[in-house]
């Protein structure tokens, strides 16, 4: 169940910064834990957006084990094999922000990870992918699962790196595609005039 209004409130507070802090600066401020990673792809759409191959996510409320576990959980929720961890880290960033705002959310996320670990015999992250998935699947409908799913379905797909990865142009289309490919599909026949209409004349 998506609580859009809840998501929106969260978004209004925390999701305006759509770029991951892909710089070393994030190491230098704050006091929380940090998740670090390296872009798997050295070329391609996301690499073009990143100032360096290394990325770091500073956590304000959650510890790094919780953060890493949540990230992996989100990879199971929305498994895109070649989508960088750096994009999934944006979901963790929003979860962390939400935990910082609301002690109940913090408790939900921390105890959710603890439960996952205990059920998996100590460390859910250390078991295999298929085994991990069974735990994810079994949690469907729980508040922990729904919080992660509801956050991930917004955060994961609402940032410039995801836009580049999936092929959406976002605000780059703001001026309009009239002269930028609105009808550039060439693998089907051209439209007959009666079904379509003329290009507008800018001089008219």
């Amino acid at each position: 169940m998506i609580n859009l209004l809840g998501l929106l409130q969260m978004r209004g507070n925390k999701m305006t910064d759509k770029k991951l802090p892909l710089s070393r600066r994030s190491f230098l401020k704050g006091s929380g834990s940090v998740i670090v990673g390296t872009l798997a792809m050295t070329s391609g759409s996301i690499a073009l957006l990143a100032p360096s191959r290394s990325w770091a996510l500073e956590l304000n409320s959650l510890n790094d084990h919780t953060g890493k576990t949540l990230l992996q959980f989100c990879r199971h929720l929305y498994p895109h094999a070649d989508l960088e961890d750096a994009v999934y880290a944006l979901v963790v960033k929003d979860l962390d922000a939400s935990a910082a705002d609301d002690p109940d959310i913090r408790m939900l996320l921390q105890s959710g990870v603890q439960d996952l670990d205990s059920a998996a015999g100590g460390d859910w992250l250390s078991i295999g992918d298929d085994a991990q998935f069974l735990y994810v699947d079994s949690l469907q409908g729980t508040p922990f699962f729904e919080k992660l799913r509801g956050t991930a379905v917004v955060s994961l797909y609402n940032n410039d790196m995801a836009f580049a990865h999936f092929g959406y142009e976002g605000k780059k289309g703001n001026a309009g595609y009239l002269h930028r490919g609105f009808d550039d599909l060439t693998w089907l026949p051209d439209l007959p005039d009666k079904a379509s209409g003329p290009m507008p004349d800018a001089s008219a």
Partner: protein, 528 residues
């Protein structure tokens, strides 16, 4: 902004004005039509003023800016109640109302759709009724509305050029044998006209048109009404109740202004155009000792017969890129299934219309609550996806209705609305037919996968204060005048007796133009 500045303001105790509640397609149009006739109007809008310069090319941010997000509750067996329990509709709270967000499809009703009960018969479980108006009576007003709105393929205006998403639709439609498929009759400029630009194919129709190519009361009716000096716009004015005198005539409205202060505006007549949830909510919240069940509710029909169209979407995934988000969202319509052909197993008909969502809203709406490999593998194909919306007639049912929540209150202390909706078997049969046909269209165009997407929170909302020939069957007469109170009018889609298969805005505008003539005439005669 000068364009939205009031040239004239009216005193709160000026009881010569017509108060219009809501500035969308119905209220905004009515305001301008009355003001052009020299009738003084106070236009109260719950939302704030956001002009075309303020619109955001960002789905979630725009949603926060424009959508009506005041809490509502839901019930009934529709999936929206499960997936979006506090968001039954996707409509706007902003000056211009949902005419800021609409996609522009402007199709006239068909003749038989005004005679739904006579045509479809007594379908069990429905509350069908014929409209008290016929298509013939509406034609001259449709003509005026189409001229006003600049509907493509009318009045020698060319169609919009087809975009990628339409190319896919057209290929499939032609291959399955459909004949009525083109880039639509759209209230979106295909050429520069009416002091507004042609469409630049941005693809952000739902987020507000920055070029003002798409007709909206925000760009046309409201500034023109203000220009006459006969209309005053008051944004951020949430009407709480309508007041009446001992003779049973309405005398004005009480509203909360931007600061949350209660204000009272006197009125000679009141026109309610707050869309299909707020309009009945306002009438119900206006109960009094004379009208214990709410204003104009002697029939008990206020809030009932809520319709949202039979909707759904089909997305097709192709081997090669489509980039459906590039270009006018809904400029692609197939009308072959729009007629009434009971041999298909249901009454009424439906249209296919292109639709595209950006990546963020595709994730949110493709399969709400969806997750896992199946969902992710569809998202992986976003660039190769084409989309179509299905919009068809849904059946009026007495228990599909807007009611006041027994306990929950909004920030003004007013009961919030609950929206209950369950599909009628006819709606389900039509949806299943449309899904199959939609899939056939994309398969014919070479889809490798087709996806059935359930209804979004409702954008088409109709019927909760319906027109009827007899007072016992509905809330208002053929002019939108309430049966019980002569100077109280319904001026939005709430008037709809039945939903028809067409996007509602054109007919809402048409009814508002027609109603303005009636109100002016009634005022001239001293009847109101």
């Amino acid at each position: 902004m000068a364009r939205y500045d009031n040239k004239k303001t009216f005193a709160h105790d000026d009881d010569s004005v017509v108060v219009i509640v809501g500035s969308g397609a119905g209220g905004g149009t009515l305001a301008n039509e009355l003001a052009q006739k020299g009738i003084d109007v106070v236009l109260l809008e719950a939302g704030a003023l956001h002009t075309s310069k303020d619109f955001l090319p960002d789905e979630w941010a725009s949603f926060s800016q424009l959508a009506w997000l005041d809490k509502r509750t839901t019930s009934g067996d529709w999936r929206v109640a499960k997936d979006f329990p506090n968001l039954p509709t996707w409509i706007c709270k902003t000056v211009g109302g949902t005419s800021v967000h609409w996609a522009g499809a402007s199709l006239r009703f068909q003749d038989h759709e005004f005679k739904a009960k006579s045509t479809y018969g007594n379908l069990p479980g429905t509350n069908l009724l014929d409209w008290p108006i016929t298509l013939d009576e509406m034609v001259p007003y449709y003509d005026k509305a189409e001229k006003k709105m600049g509907v493509t393929r009318t009045n020698d205006l060319p169609g919009l050029p087809g975009n990628n998403n339409f190319k896919v639709m057209y290929e499939g439609a032609t291959k399955v044998g459909y004949k009525e498929c083109h880039t639509g009759r759209m209230s979106i400029n295909s050429v520069t006209r009416d002091d507004r630009s042609y469409c630049h194919q941005r693809g952000f129709c739902f987020q507000g048109c920055t070029y003002e190519a798409k007709w909206s009361t925000l760009f046309t009716e409201i500034p023109r009404a203000l220009e006459t000096g006969h209309a005053e716009l008051r944004p951020e004015s949430h009407v709480a109740r309508i007041e009446h005198d001992a003779k049973g005539k309405v005398t004005g409205v009480v509203y909360f202004d931007k600061a949350g202060n209660e204000q009272r505006q006197k009125a000679r007549a009141v026109a309610v155009a707050g869309n299909t949830i707020e309009s009945p909510r306002l009438l119900l919240n206006s109960e009094s000792s004379s009208f214990p069940d709410g204003l104009a509710n002697g029939s008990g029909q206020v809030g009932r017969n809520y319709m949202s169209h039979m909707t759904a979407s089909v997305y097709g995934i192709f081997e090669k890129p489509v980039h459906m988000y590039r270009g006018t969202t809904m400029a692609g319509i197939i009308s072959d299934e729009a007629g009434h052909d009971p041999s298909r197993g249901f009454a009424g008909g439906y249209h296919f219309e292109t639709i595209s969502l950006g990546l963020p809203f595709t994730a949110a709406f493709l399969n709400p609550s969806g997750w896992g490999k199946d969902f992710a593998s569809a998202m992986d194909q976003y660039a190769n996806m084409a989309g179509m919306w299905i919009v068809g007639e849904d059946m009026p049912q007495a228990d599909n209705r807007v009611t006041l929540h027994p306990t929950e209150r909004d920030k003004h202390g007013l009961p919030i609305p609950n929206v209950s909706y369950s599909d009628h078997p006819n709606d389900k049969a039509m949806r299943e037919h449309a899904f199959k046909q939609g899939e056939a269209i994309y398969n014919a165009a070479g889809a490798t996968r087709v996806i059935r997407t359930p209804p979004y929170p409702s954008t088409h909302n109709m019927g909760t204060c319906r027109m009827s020939a007899k007072p016992e069957d509905g809330v208002c007469n053929k002019h939108g005048q309430s049966h019980e109170i002569p100077n109280l009018f319904i001026s939005d889609g709430s008037q709809y007796t039945t939903s028809a298969a067409e996007n509602p805005t054109l007919t809402i505008v048409t009814l508002a133009i027609r109603q303005s003539e009636y109100i002016a005439d009634q005022m001239k005669r001293g009847a109101i």
